[in-house]
Amino acid sequence: MRRYEVVFILAPTLTEEEVEQQVASYVSAAEAVGAQVVSVDQWGKRQLAYPIKKHTEGYYVILTIEEPSADAVAELERRFKVSDLVIRFLSIRVDEDLKRARKLEEKREARQRSRLRARMTERVHAASSEQSRGPVSPDVESFSDETGASEFGDEEREESEEAKESADAGRE
């Protein structure tokens, strides 16, 4: 199944009802061709970065559609082109991007889990081999601080781990 994002901008001169009618007509058009409309996100009126067809604002709507081919998307685009009320549109295929994003997330979680395990076992060994080690803080809490965003923090902490280990080896 392919997933598409279809964004379109309606002229700001429409009333609430007209907007709803338009959105509903496009949704049913997509469904009529056999696609599944996963979500309808209406951003409402928004300032445009530059005037389009003399308008300075637009009503943004984004549809997420699932279908095995591009039929619904093609049909929607055909209608957008003809309509005078749709002043801009853009359709994009997103399934590959989402797949990649999920893979990265999984890799990140796997990496964090293995790092946690490595550090826990290493600290257990260090604690058992040497009695007093000065500032050995029971920083189990610090492990849970690791988030995907702190990639820098992870690498820096690894470097300091290595420095500590070489220092310990020097001491022996």
Binding site: V7, I9, L48, A49, Y50, I52, G58, Y60, I62, R88, L90, I92, D97, L98, A101, L104, E105, G148, A149, S150, E151, F152, E155
Partner: protein
């Protein structure tokens, strides 16, 4: 000078998906006049820079970002 001591790509670290709809994120990578910031200044890695560039261009098409600003 950039690219000393293992510089990391901040975009790679902070996001899994670079989205043309994320105006706040993308506006970090355009200048005052709306131009796209080059990689040697922004510090992005090549793949991120490419994705950011296409996202910016899409956002411009949808009037979420300007083409030019005075």
């Amino acid at each position: 000078m950039v690219r000393r001591r293992k510089k990391y790509c901040k975009s790679c670290a902070s996001r899994t998906v670079i989205d043309y709809k994320d105006v706040k994120f993308l506006s970090q990578f355009i200048t005052e006049s709306g131009k796209i910031i080059p990689r040697r200044t922004s510090g992005n890695c090549a793949p991120c820079q490419r994705k950011i560039t296409t996202a910016i261009k899409r956002a411009r098409h949808l009037a979420l970002l300007p083409f030019v600003r005075q």
